[in-house]
């Protein structure tokens, strides 16, 4: 299962897109990602790219 990116990793991704969040912003984002990323991984397994429904 993918680990939630660190604040430093998130900051690097944001700054590459021209966005400059605060430390508090990044902690709030990490709380979302901690729930979302495992759910998205499960979704990927549920509907893989070659799913016959597509």
């Amino acid at each position: 299962m993918a680990a939630t990116p660190s604040p430093a990793e998130l900051r690097e991704i944001a700054e590459k897109q021209g966005v400059f969040p605060t430390d508090e912003d990044l902690e709030a984002v990490r709380a979302f990602l901690a729930i979302l990323l495992p759910a998205f991984e499960e979704l990927e397994r549920l509907v893989p790219p070659t799913a016959p429904h597509e």
Binding site: Q17, V19, L43, V47, A51
Partner: protein, 467 residues
């Protein structure tokens, strides 16, 4: 007075558009200080428009009817704040497509309504404009994001209203405020001139007292708009004329997993309401929706990135001007792996297909609109069956499945628990608005939950006589 009755009284000449507008302006002046439902009141403009209507030769079906709009819908010359600091000074030059259509029908826009910032949340507790208070219990939220709509209709501060719904934003405040709302099929009503959240799921629709009111508003709002890429070229139906056939023989699928997972008292109201549908002649059958538990994840896989895309320029230049919760939610979209969006698209395709198959067996689905009662302002958690959970997570399985598939959903008042309203969701197949509204209307013909009003909405509240 319902919008339908008011429209009838106006048409019969029992009162004038100016008198109707003045009535609601008096109530807003007297009561809205307690509720904060409105961000902008167009008093002078609405009165001038009322006078102009009286001189007009053509009278549309909503001639002289005062309406209010969630403050993401553009009215030329009136601020569209989206409940935000970022758009606080934005004054559009053109009406949204739905405003053009409302004006053609003869409606008068009396004001713009409070909402969750940028329609991206379910609380309507804006850090910029203050919270909207629930008329049934002012210390509690209205729900959202169209929370001002719910409060204004419940407190009789306007005859009808228009909101938006991406993941429940019409249905949630309708449930929490004891009013009737309809999220139409995605694309049936134009989104042009409306601040976007997530274009794959955004839908504009009515919030009013009754299903008939919603039908009359929808007939004015719906229609193909070539200027909106999400608009569908579907026939515009006289929805208000299609409500009278009753629901005998209608097959209603009960989404039992959603009933079972709701607060037991809420579930009790829903079960009573389902019994009422059965007594009206509907055939109730239990239904399992296979992807239900994943629907929220599927919608979020697309929605987070679409919302971030829509806000990208402000994320770069105005980041600190967002409220903390909306800022975090928007930022999330920057950090999702690129294949997440495609997973969401595949998941949505499968969910749509599974629901299409279900609607070969049933005409409607029924479920709680919300699993819980409206929480107190400032509370982030709710308790369901003794277990504490985040409010924003609890609502997702009840709203996302239908948004995901672009289905029409009505929320109708169906009971009270501890003095707070409970809503029943009636879900139809795509473009199945006539069936949804017909069932909602039949339910309201047999019950009086939609007629109950909070104490501050009594006719003499605010010392204003009813029109």
């Amino acid at each position: 007075m319902s919008l339908a009755r008011l429209a009838g009284a106006l048409g019969a000449g029992d009162l004038s558009p100016r008198e109707a507008v003045e009535h609601y302006l008096r109530r807003i002046e007297a009561i809205d200080g307690e509720l904060n439902a409105y961000i902008t009141v167009r008093a002078d403009e609405a009165l001038a428009e009322a006078d102009a209507l009286e001189r007009a030769h053509v009278r549309g079906p909503l001639w002289g009817v005062p309406v209010a709009l969630k403050d993401v819908i553009d009215v030329a010359g009136t601020p569209t704040t989206a409940g935000s600091r970022i758009l606080a000074d934005y004054v559009p030059k053109q009406d949204a497509h739905v405003v053009v259509r409302l004006r053609q029908a003869g409606a008068i826009v009396v004001g713009k309504l409070n909402l969750h910032e940028f329609a991206y949340g379910a609380l309507t507790t804006s850090p910029h404009f203050g919270p909207a208070h629930n008329p049934w219990a002012p210390e509690r939220i209205c729900g959202g994001s169209s929370g001002g709509n719910g409060a204004a209709i419940a407190a009789d501060l306007v005859a009808g209203s228009v909101g938006t719904d991406t993941a429940g934003s019409i249905r949630i405040p309708s449930s929490h405020c004891g009013v009737t709302g309809l999220r139409p099929s995605t694309g049936l009503v134009s989104n042009r001139g409306v601040v976007a959240v997530s274009p794959s799921f955004d839908a504009v629709g009515p919030i009013a007292r009754t299903a008939m009111d919603c039908a009359l508003l929808l007939a004015a709002l719906a229609g193909h708009d070539p200027g909106d890429p999400t608009s569908v070229d579907a026939p515009v139906l006289p929805y208000g004329e299609l409500l009278g056939e009753g629901i005998r023989g209608l097959r209603v699928g009960m989404v039992t997993s959603l009933v079972d997972a709701a607060d037991p008292q809420v579930a009790g109201s829903i079960e009573t309401a389902l019994g009422e549908l059965r007594s009206l002649g509907a055939e109730l059958v239990p239904v399992t929706v296979p992807l239900l538990e994943h629907a929220g994840t599927i919608q979020q896989a697309m929605q987070f990135q679409e919302a971030a895309d829509a806000h990208m320029e402000w994320l770069r230049t105005r980041l600190s001007d967002y409220g903390a919760d909306v800022r975090a939610r928007l930022l999330v979209g920057l950090f999702l792996p690129p294949d997440v969006y495609e997973s969401g698209r595949r998941g949505r395709a499968r969910a749509c297909e599974e629901l299409r198959v279900i609607f070969e067996r049933v005409d409607l689905l029924a479920a709680p609109t919300m699993p819980v009662l409206p929480p107190r302002i400032g509370t982030e958690t709710v308790e369901i069956g003794g277990r504490e959970t985040l409010y924003r997570l609890a609502l997702i399985p009840y709203n996302s499945p239908w948004s995901l598939a672009g289905l029409p959903v009505a929320s109708v008042p169906c009971g009270f628990v501890e003095g707070l309203p409970v809503g029943l969701a009636l879900v139809g197949p795509r473009l199945g608005e006539p069936t949804v509204l017909r069932a909602a209307h039949a339910f309201q013909q047999a019950t009086d939950w939609h007629e109950r009003r909070p104490a501050l909405a009594t006719p003499d509240a605010g010392r204003a006589a009813p029109p």
